[in-house]
């Protein structure tokens, strides 16, 4: 059984008097430990797919299960509990809490788990070490560069040891050099910590770092051969 399973998932939006269906009865399996990149033109439903898998948006039809849990069946409160334990979310715009320090931002998800303060401290320190920000733990987001903020966002996403981490354009707001650093970091997380990653990106070069590439076009997934050079969408 795959770690993430989408079956017959359908999602539509109404814009004015038009109905747009970015996801039209799609199926997808993601195995544990995979690093999947998802590309596609704007408005094809890439971010919507991440939101559905994360349970912050609801499907119109179909079902999604992650680690055997029917995400589509859970209430809003139970979904929050499930996300706290099983899902890490990396945002394009980092979305750190501005009043909290680096350490406190990373610590936030661990406060929702049953951990002793020593265990919590250990996890936060390990996550900060993994993203190379131990020396910035007392800095506030306003005192960090864009790349450092994104690394804090990544540390926050992995600190609870989730089953799956989803990343929505994680390099979208970064310059080329910082973007490369983040790509290396994501690859390391996948390879060294065996974290299952699903990443949405516009950038073909960024998508190329994944072990499996998918193209979402007209509501359907198209598997891309990893040996095929990708064009920028």
């Amino acid at each position: 059984m795959a770690l993430v399973e989408l079956r017959n998932v359908c999602k539509s939006f109404t814009k004015g008097d038009q109905t747009i269906t970015p996801l039209d009865h799609v199926d997808l399996d993601i195995e544990a430990g995979e690093f999947v990149s998802l590309m596609g033109p704007s408005g094809t439903g890439k971010s919507t797919l991440l939101n559905l898998i994360s349970g912050i948006d609801r499907v119109d039809e179909g079902s999604i299960s992650v680690g055997g849990v029917g995400v589509t069946e859970l209430s809003r409160g139970k979904l929050a509990d499930w996300r706290a334990r099983n899902l890490g979310y990396i945002f394009q715009t980092h979305n750190l809490i501005p009043v909290l320090t680096t350490y406190e931002n990373v610590e936030l998800p661990t406060l929702l788990l049953r951990l002793s303060s020593a265990q919590r401290r250990q996890r936060v320190e390990l996550a900060l070490e993994a993203v190379g920000l131990t020396d910035r733990s007392n800095h506030y987001p306003s005192q960090l560069s864009g790349g450092q903020e994104q690394r804090v966002g990544i540390a926050r996403a992995i600190v609870a040891h989730p089953q799956v981490v989803v990343a929505d354009e994680p390099t979208g707001s970064l310059d080329t050099k910082t973007s490369e650093q983040i790509q290396v970091l994501l690859q390391r997380l996948n390879q060294e910590l065996d974290i299952t990653l699903l990443m949405v990106t516009h950038d073909a070069e960024v998508a190329a770092i994944a072990s499996r590439r998918l193209l979402l076009d007209e509501g359907k997934f198209v598997e891309q051969n990893v040996d095929t050079p990708l064009k920028k969408s």
């Binding site: 912050i56 409160g77 509990d81 706290a84 501005p98 936030l108 998800p109 929702l112």
Partner: protein
């Protein structure tokens, strides 16, 4: 998570400070009004309000216009149910409502000591009993007027030597100045030799106050001056009737203050939550439950109200304890005193207001449409 709430409040410290200040001012007024209400309730429901009677000249209101023969005390004393009678000459500097009323009660020092719950904090009874122009002054009057033991205190035609300062567990007593009955009767301008303003009648434990009051008025009807006898509580409520209306109005002012705090804190919290909808969406994406988000916002509004409320209540109690404030009319006074009840009331109201004022923004934050909020710039 409390750290998050406190840091959020600290981050917007100007807004926080202004809201807390607003809440503090409103709760200050609320507690002040509450103390007036408490003072009035003490007068009409106090221990002696129903166990002693006041015999006053019929159809007279201001103490200067009531002139009863002093020897009525003998007749009253014979009525069944009467334990003791204390003739009192009252003099006041102002018969109308005033915030700085000075009321002299002239009575037999021995009876004052027996029947009034007074405790001298300065001076001694002996000096009061032995000097004709000696007076003991209530703590509130002494604070308000800056009077100390040994001072010569003069007002109108009355000039007394302060033999002591007293406090009492009946706050209204602390607004009085006690002198010897003879001294006040012979004061120039009063010309009250053999006359008193009122007789205070202490009842026996099992006596029915209304029956005794009726019998007193009946017995004295044949005398040179007709009387009206009422329970002490009713008498005081009647003499302060105009003030009671004003205090009733002030009560609404207190409610207006509560409304003000509610609106102020609710507005601040709504603004704060609307500014941070994306933050709440991020928190819920991380795994914070909607109910916990609701609690975060409620904690924020409750902290604002509680800090402001406790500060306002504390300042009000401090001002009440240091100021010796009182309002009076026609010789009766209402003392504004700090009390434990007022403190508890202030804190509980602040707490309740904090929860109520945060309810709408808390629901907004808990029900934030996550995807829409995350897509905000």
């Amino acid at each position: 998570m409390i750290k998050y709430v406190i840091k959020t409040l600290w981050r917007h410290r100007t807004r926080t400070f202004l809201t807390v200040s607003g809440a503090a001012v409103a709760m200050f007024v609320f507690c002040f009004v509450g103390s007036v209400q408490e003072g009035l309730n003490r007068l009409s429901n106090g221990e002696d309000a129903n166990r002693s009677l006041i015999v006053f000249q019929e159809n007279r209101f201001c103490p200067t216009s009531s002139r009863l023969p002093q020897d009525y005390a003998n007749q009253i004393g014979k009525i069944d149910g009467v334990a003791e009678v204390m003739p009192i000459q009252v003099w006041t500097n102002n018969c109308r409502a005033s915030l700085d009323i000075v009321v002299f009660n002239g009575a037999d020092p021995e009876k004052i000591q027996q029947n009034r719950p007074l405790q001298l904090v300065e001076g001694n009874w002996q000096e009061f009993e032995s000097r004709r122009d000696a007076a003991i002054v209530g703590k509130n009057v002494a604070t308000r007027r800056g009077i100390s033991r040994g001072d010569q205190f003069s007002i109108g035609n009355i000039s007394v030597n302060v033999a002591g300062i007293f406090e009492s567990n009946v706050p209204a007593e602390e607004n009085l100045i006690y002198t010897n009955l003879n001294f006040l009767q012979y004061t120039q301008g009063l010309d009250s030799a053999g006359l008193v303003t009122q007789h205070e009648v202490m009842l026996q434990n099992n006596a029915d106050p209304d029956r005794v009051a009726r019998e007193i008025d009946q017995a004295l009807r044949a005398g040179p001056v007709a009387t009206t006898t009422r329970r002490k509580g009713a008498f005081q409520a009647s003499t302060l009737a105009d003030l009671v209306d004003l205090i009733g109005f002030a009560h609404w002012l207190g409610f207006a203050c509560v409304g003000l705090v509610l609106t102020l804190v609710a507005t601040t919290t709504v603004m704060s939550v609307e500014d941070r909808m994306k933050e709440y969406a991020v928190l819920q994406t991380i795994g914070i439950r909607p109910l916990r988000t609701l609690r975060l916002v409620l904690t924020e509004s409750t902290l604002l109200c509680l800090v402001g409320g406790v500060a306002g209540t504390g300042l009000a109690l401090l001002a009440l304890s240091l100021g010796g404030f009182a309002i009076g009319a026609e010789g009766s006074t209402i003392a504004f005193r700090p009390s434990f009840d007022l403190l508890v009331y202030g804190v509980v109201v602040s707490l309740g207001l904090g929860v109520v004022s945060g309810l709408v923004p808390a629901i907004q934050a808990a029900r934030v449409p996550i995807v829409k909020a995350l897509n905000q710039p």
